[in-house]
């Protein structure tokens, strides 16, 4: 379990990084926290010619609030969020998700950007940020572009980055106090990748909601308009009207043939809905 040979460089600036990505011959991987890439290198599942360490780039550690939007640089760690070292516009939702990612040593090094680019379907940020309606900011030599997370995650371990591009920041919209949020994951043991994730962001006053069913084979199943899960209408009594059959049908339509798996995913989604309907945010029950 030792990696195949590779070159290692540490660019001094974002511009230098983008130049190097464009000019380096052979395959290139960026490394930030290395919590997924490290084991993949050791197992020789990836054998890049060049690894570019981006943890020293100040641009990727930037954090700011732009109006209603929180902008988190790609190299912000899970622990930065868990420990409250970055501002919050989500009423603690990000903090609660971060605090239940894997184990503390992983959270100390793992980054929000790295998690999104790795795009494991069972990863917390992939699902939570999609449910929150977050965007990603992508940088390349030709400029920047912004994509919603659901268009960025194109498949299991697949993202919409073009050659020479990298994820620079995550843009998280605010959760108003009238917006309900629920996030539940199911693991066989603490710290394990989830077997099922349910995430909902529901605005009863506006009659709108988003739901994500995650830890599935492919990219998370997003219901950008969650009203079908609630009998076609979202209001203050949404939780009571949650329709497990509608969720089950959505999973069947998405190709999940295994009834046991559907049952678990629907249960977890139902619990996320129930959590959203409780006035006080609860600690994540499946990952306390």
């Amino acid at each position: 379990m030792k990696p195949a040979p590779f070159a290692w460089e540490r660019p001094a600036s974002l511009a230098a990084l983008l130049d190097r990505m464009a000019t380096a011959p052979g395959s290139v991987k960026l490394i930030a926290g290395g919590q997924s890439l490290g084991p993949m290198l050791n197992l020789r599942l990836v054998e890049p010619d060049l690894v570019l360490d981006i943890t020293g780039l100040p641009e990727l550690r930037e954090v700011r609030v732009e109006g209603e939007t929180l902008v988190l640089g790609a190299c912000v760690t899970h622990a930065d969020i868990e420990d409250g070292r970055v501002p919050d516009v989500t009423g603690g939702a990000l903090q609660r998700v971060a605090s239940a990612i894997a184990y503390r040593p992983v959270r100390n090094r793992g980054t929000i950007g790295g998690s999104l680019v790795h795009a494991d379907p069972a990863a917390d940020w992939v699902n939570a940020l999609m449910a929150l309606g977050a965007d990603v900011e992508i940088a390349g030599r030709s400029g920047r572009r912004i994509l919603p997370v659901e268009r960025f995650i194109t498949g299991a371990l697949e993202v919409a980055l073009e050659p020479g591009e990298m994820l620079r920041a995550v843009r998280v919209p605010s959760l108003s106090h009238t917006t309900a949020w629920g996030y539940v994951k199911h693991c066989a043991k603490i710290g394990e990748f989830a077997h099922a994730i349910g995430a909902v962001r529901i605005d009863p006053a506006a009659g709108r909601g988003r739901a994500v069913i995650g830890a599935v084979e492919g990219p998370p199943l997003l219901l950008a308009d969650a009203r079908p899960l609630f009998g076609g209408r979202i209001d203050a009594a949404f939780a009571a009207r949650f329709d497990a059959r509608a969720a089950d049908a959505a999973l069947q339509a998405a190709g999940m043939a295994d009834a046991v798996e559907r049952h678990v995913h629907v249960t977890v989604l139902a619990r996320a809905v129930a959590q959203a309907a409780t006035p006080q945010p609860q600690p994540l029950p499946e990952a306390a």
Binding site: M1, A4, K189, I190, E192, H195, V260, V264, T267
Partner: protein, 784 residues
């Protein structure tokens, strides 16, 4: 009891270095010119080797079976009638029979470079059908792991004690029960560093093993060199559990390589090699029927047990120890009149099976205790009632059971009663009947076992395997300043022997534990021993250390009497002093006299001096029988299959406890592994014999949050046969938890029509069973 003697709860002296990161493991050894080894391993479970292509640039750094002239395969033969012998080649010849089998050795200055070379070697393999299902493997027409056998069965055994007399019992309960295949997962993997000592013309083999002397036997036989040319050094060992009680092909390969190259070589097992390539444990399958009266009294047990023993018979315990042991220990702590058990040790294209902590007992306990709960349900009785009816009673001790096992002592019903009281069964059942607000279901589970430990010559000579324990020996030597050195041939892989054996010595000699050093893990410095296995060391090495110290004490008294100008009969030994009628002399003074002032000794002094090697066997060598009752309370989420252990009680009897802290540590550690067996750990294989986990992301071990804070209650019924009344307890913690937890889960889910009969009881399996029983979430809540 003195403050440091037998029975004292002393913190372990070895923890000072181990907890500060100052342990010295094989992986810490640095030698000039060391070459690292990576192996080319078979990617297929079963294939014929057509060719091995080694790139020209690496010709002198890659070695295959063709280079290994004169090296013999590993043969672990059993003398049981009908046993079929497997030959485990050090490097594959002709065929590969398991994923991970060694095909070629690659050397380089670093492991990473060696892996680069290994990756460049190309294997041309013709894949053969993989034998991956032990039941199918027994059927005619199955592909064959060893063609010349004609079938895939290492050994078939049958025990029948009047089973027909049970057939008219009013209650007959049959179940198919099985346990998943596991890996042992010690924190430290295997590792071997071999160097040459030209002065002694010796191979010095540093290897993480529980049995240095047995490894030397095996290496000598495989390499065809005399034992005197091999020295085994096992430094600190980071957990063994049976995984470090087998000779690996890697060990033989490294020795051959060091001889060939004339320079030191190293192989350190990585986690992927451990999980996929080297050894497995636990995979049992039972078809079991219990016959009983309506009051729960057992009339008989009838069983067919199959064990997936893997591709090769592992040295020294052999491929049949596990299955054949099933037949002899299935009756557990119970007394019933009729019994039949047929067993099969089956060869498959998987890693060899080896005896993991608890050996066959964990599987046997799982099968028997689950079927006892099924009897209880059929009879409309609480599970404890069926157990109370059938447990061997204290008045029957010592008791010879239906398979001629000799239970030395104990009060099994009392252990069960104390466990029920501690867990407060009545309160748990009241809570259970009230139901939970969160929809989870409460269950109470019990499990009782007894464990034969430290069994010796009379038991193992019957197996006819390469290793039979005889007298255990220990050496004790006073240093010139009155300190004590102990030497034993068994080895600690985490048991705290440096503390507990010093306590035994202190009990007799009064030397402070801090001034006693245990030398072990080195064939050059210790008496022969079969090593640390079978929960035997505290009984055997403890007895041997006591015997050596007693002889040392008697010699000290004779010298001391001369110094006190009196006769030995006038003296007694007390608190490290020889006390005579008119004065006393400390051990330090006696040691100083022997070594440094011999002119003060009596002319007829014993020339043996203050160094003694003594041997020991218990009064009977059929083994001690420790036992325990485990009681568990769980909350099960029927929708997600999540199991939370709410409470866990262990009432155990290890006889006289030499160090209660160490015993508790053994029990907690065993429990953690038992929880793994019960709920998490399983190495699954696909239809081509491919192991489906290669990292701990896929092979789940319980973590700190998943292991309950068990409450331990000790009974102390001394064994009548051992030096201090101590019984072996090292494995027991891992035996009962799978049965106790599965019974608790079944108690919780029984009203939904669910009965879990396969370990591990995973969330997925629970949800599957709940849905198959047709009781969805809504019905589940109503049934609460």
């Amino acid at each position: 009891m003195s403050a440091e003697g037998v029975g004292a709860a002393l913190p372990r002296k070895e923890d000072d270095r181990l907890m500060r990161g100052r342990g010295q493991y094989v992986g810490d050894i640095r030698l000039p010119g060391l070459q690292d080894v990576a192996f080319v391993r078979s990617p297929l479970a079963h294939a014929r080797i057509r060719a091995i292509h080694v790139p020209e640039a690496y010709r002198d750094r890659v070695f295959t079976a063709a280079d290994l002239g004169g090296v013999q395969p590993i043969r672990a033969v059993s003398g049981l009638p009908g046993f079929k012998v497997s030959e485990q080649p050090v490097l594959a010849t002709g065929k590969v029979r398991q994923v991970g089998e060694l095909v070629a050795i690659c050397i380089a200055p670093t492991r990473a470079e060696a892996e680069d070379i290994a990756a460049a070697v190309v294997l041309d393999l013709e894949e053969l059908p993989a034998v991956h299902d032990m039941l199918a493997a027994r059927e005619p027409g199955s592909a064959l792991v060893h063609e010349h056998w004609g079938d895939n069965v290492y050994l078939e055994t049958l025990v029948d004690v009047d089973i027909a007399s049970a057939f008219d019992a009013p209650i007959k309960v049959s179940r198919t029960i099985s346990t998943g295949r596991q890996c042992m997962a010690p924190i430290e993997g295997r590792g071997t560093v071999v160097q040459l000592d030209h002065r002694l013309d010796q191979l010095v083999v540093h290897t993480a093993t529980q049995m240095p002397h047995i490894v030397r036997n095996g290496l000598s036989e495989c390499l065809g060199i005399e034992q005197g040319r091999i020295r085994i050094v096992s430094p600190d060992v980071g957990g063994g559990f049976g995984y470090k009680a087998i000779l690996l092909a890697e060990d033989v390969a490294l020795c051959w390589l060091a001889l060939r190259l004339g320079q030191p070589v190293r192989w350190l097992e990585d986690r992927r090699e451990h999980l996929t390539a080297n050894a497995n444990c636990r995979e049992h399958h039972y078809r079991i029927t219990a016959y009983a009266e309506r009051d729960g009294s057992l009339r008989g047990i009838d069983c067919e047990a199959t064990v997936d023993s893997g591709a090769y018979s592992a040295y020294p315990f052999s491929a049949c120890l596990e299955a054949a042991q099933v037949a002899s220990i299935l009756p557990g702590p119970y007394d019933f009149p009729a019994y039949r058990c047929r067993t099969w040790s089956v060869a498959t294209n998987k890693c060899p099976i080896l005896p993991y902590r608890g050996v066959a007992r964990t599987g046997v306990c799982f099968a028997l205790e689950l079927v006892l709960d099924a009897v209880a349900r059929a009879a409309g009785l609480h599970p404890e009632v069926v157990r109370e009816k059938n447990l061997v009673r204290p008045a029957q001790m010592p008791f010879e059971n239906i398979t001629k096992k000799h239970f030395d002592s104990g009060d099994y019903p009392q252990a069960l009663a104390r466990a029920l009281e501690a867990i407060d069964a009545a309160a748990v059942r009241a809570r259970q009947s009230r139901g939970e607000a969160d929809g989870r279901r409460i269950g109470l589970g019990l499990s009782v076992y007894c464990e034969q430990a430290a069994h010796g010559t009379s038991v193992y000579s019957g197996w006819g395997i390469p290793m039979v324990p005889g007298h255990e020996q220990a050496s004790a030597r006073l240093t010139p300043d009155g300190g004590l050195e102990l030497r034993i041939g068994a080895h600690s892989h985490g048991q705290g022997l440096e503390t507990t054996l010093a306590q035994v010595a202190h009990e007799i000699l009064g030397v402070p534990v801090a001034r006693t050093r245990l030398v072990h893990g080195d064939t050059a410095m210790t008496p022969y021993s079969t090593g640390s296995w079978g929960s035997r060391v505290m009984v055997m090495a403890g007895g041997a250390v006591a015997a050596a110290c007693e002889e040392l004490r008697d010699r000290a008294v004779r010298i001391g009497a001369h110094l006190l100008q009196t006769r030995p009969e006038e003296c007694r030994f007390e608190g490290g002093h020889v006390v005579g009628p008119s004065g006393d002399v400390p051990l330090e003074a006696i040691a100083r006299t022997w070594y440094r002032r011999p002119q003060d000794l009596a002319p007829d002094t014993d020339p043996g001096g203050l160094e003694v090697t003594a041997g020991y066997k218990p009064v009977r060598d059929s083994g001690t029988f420790s036992y325990a009752a485990h009681a568990a309370v769980v909350a099960v989420d029927p929708d997600l299959g999540a199991v939370e252990i709410l409470d866990y009680v262990i009432v155990e009897d290890g006889g006289t406890l030499v160090n209660p802290l160490v015993v508790d540590g053994q029990i907690y550690g065993g429990l953690a592994q038992g929880v793994g067996t019960a709920l998490f750990e399983e190495m699954r294989f696909d239809g081509r014999g491919q192991p489906l986990a290669s990292t701990f992301a896929d092979y789940l071990l319980p973590g700190p949050a998943e292991v309950p804070m068990a409450r331990i209650d000790h009974m102390e019924t001394p064994s009548p046969y051992t030096r201090f009344g101590q019984k072996g307890i090292g494995e027991g913690g891992a035996i009962a938890p799978p049965a106790a937890l599965a019974n608790a889960i079944n108690d919780a889910l029984g009203p939904l029509g669910v009965e879990m009969l396969h370990s591990p009881v995973t969330p997925r399996r629970i949800v599957e069973a709940v849905l198959a029983a047709g009781t969805g979430p809504e019905q589940a809540r109503e049934a609460a």
